[in-house]
């Protein structure tokens, strides 16, 4: 199970508190995590990435094990610590907007 920490507004939208956990296959990638997240929480569709292009929304970032992985391929494998559930994948709203 991959642990995912969502920003507060998306936790409210998804009606969850704290981290969520999603099941992905052998290829533990950001894309696979988002696919699983949108199946479990369909109200999040379109809020993290575009419906069609699947591009990350501009003011959101993905962090894993202290590193910004937002600009890596969506199909890059996540760090082992995230795969093993020792560290969460963080979805973070950029500090922007004044």
């Amino acid at each position: 199970m991959i642990r995912v920490e969502l920003p507060a507004h998306l936790r409210t939208l998804a009606c969850v508190s704290g981290e969520v956990k999603v099941e992905v296959g052998e290829q533990a990638t950001v894309r696979a995590v988002l696919d699983a997240l949108e199946v479990d929480f369909p109200m999040l569709c379109g809020t993290i990435r575009d419906h069609v292009t699947k591009q990350r929304r501009p003011f959101l970032r993905f962090f894993a094990c202290g590193s910004d992985v937002s600009h890596e391929s969506m199909d890059a494998l996540l760090p082992e610590a995230v795969v093993r559930g020792e560290e969460p994948l963080l979805v973070i709203g950029a500090v922007a907007g004044g």
Partner: protein
């Protein structure tokens, strides 16, 4: 006794204000969707407990919440607004071609006859319809396909479709308005559209009498006379007596004819309300005095309504969707300000009282009159 429910969209959430028919004592809800922009929130005329909202954020995009209990609880409907086919381009601020991009929903207009049918006016300008309570959306692409679409250009607030009027006497007819393209009408349920801007003059565009390109701010209609339309344009208050085929100016003695909001009395189709704003570069009332102006003659002759409104040091704005009327007798008039006040007049504008003083900036106000 009848009740009223006021649905308020703000920069940081939605609020539901309720009162009995006296409209004197009010209950104010906690914020719904706290932290999100609520451009519009409106109830169904078929079932007033069905309420739709436009919830958006620069971070997380568009969400469409739906309530089945008058705004007490909400569920998330669909937010997939995809333009039909290849979207093409419109003009950007500098006149270059710019691809059509969905940004947000400005206005939601529930059907007059079907609780699950609702229209959405969006930025970049397009009209969508849902027939399943907001779960899925289909563009009525005949509007952008009218032919003038590539020449539309955004106003300062974006290229938004902000006004949707459904004709109660003809289910095939509706009116929409776009900043800054102008007003359009369909007579075949949204398949085809034509611009209805004859008589508008906008001195700030290359051809002041152009077929499209006018910055229409809002249009209002009385349901008993759907062929009579009242428009607050960027500058000028206008009137049409032929369903938009032609317009004439009725600004008359207004101290300034710039503004955003306009509405019609619930029981007197010739009585209309506007809130004059100083100018396009100074979006606040003239002389720091917040005044609603009322015409009982369908325009041209206006009287200021000031009792209970701040008459000094007031520099708020009243946005296009932030004025509404109830259908009680006497007609109640409501408006919200960018300073977070929502005012009510329970006597058709004679006197005013603030329901709330300190909400986030108000984007929209809608009123439901309940049994």
């Amino acid at each position: 006794m009848s009740r009223v429910r006021v649905l308020v969209g703000t920069r940081k959430g939605a609020f539901v204000l309720t009162s009995d028919g006296k409209r004197d004592a009010w209950e104010v809800s906690e914020p719904h969707f706290a932290g999100w922009e609520i451009y519009h929130i409106k109830g169904s005329p078929v079932d007033p407990d069905r309420v739709y909202a436009s919830q958006s954020s620069g971070w997380f995009g568009q969400v469409i919440p739906r309530s089945n209990d008058g705004g007490k609880t909400w569920e998330t409907a669909g937010n997939k607004f995809l333009y039909d086919g290849v979207p093409g381009t419109h003009q950007w601020y500098d006149g270059t071609a710019h691809p059509w991009e969905f940004k947000r929903v400005w206005h939601l207009e529930p059907s007059l006859t079907d609780v699950d049918e609702v229209y959405a006016g969006v930025e970049d300008a397009a009209l969508f319809r849902s027939s399943d309570g907001g779960q899925s959306w289909t563009e009525l692409s005949g509007l952008r396909g009218h032919g003038s679409g590539p020449h539309w250009q955004p106003g300062a607030g974006g290229m938004c479709l902000h006004t949707i009027l459904l004709d109660p006497s003809d289910p095939e007819r509706m009116f929409i308005a776009i900043s800054a393209a102008g007003a359009f009408r369909t007579d075949d349920g949204g398949k085809t559209w034509r611009p209805i801007n004859k008589g508008l003059r906008s001195e700030f565009i290359p051809d002041p009498a152009a077929e499209v390109g006018h910055c229409v701010h809002h249009i209002a209609m009385h349901p008993s006379r759907p062929g009579v339309l009242f428009m607050q344009k960027h500058w000028d208050v206008m009137r049409s007596d032929d369903a938009g085929d032609s317009w004439r100016e009725v600004s008359g003695n207004l101290p300034t004819d710039f503004g955003f909001a306009i509405d019609v009395h619930a029981h007197e189709p010739e009585t209309i309300f506007v809130v004059p704003i100083k100018s396009d570069s100074e979006h606040f009332p003239l002389d720091g005095q917040l005044r609603v102006y009322r015409s009982k003659t369908g325009g041209n002759e206006w009287e200021p309504l000031t009792k209970g409104l701040p008459q000094r040091n007031c520099y708020v704005n009243v946005l296009r969707d932030a004025m509404a009327v109830d259908s009680l007798d006497a007609c109640g008039v409501y408006f919200g300000t960018t300073g977070g006040q929502v005012y009510v007049s329970a006597d058709a504008g004679e006197s005013w009282k603030a329901i709330v003083q300190d909400l986030p900036g108000v984007l929209s106000v809608e009123v439901q009159t309940l049994p």
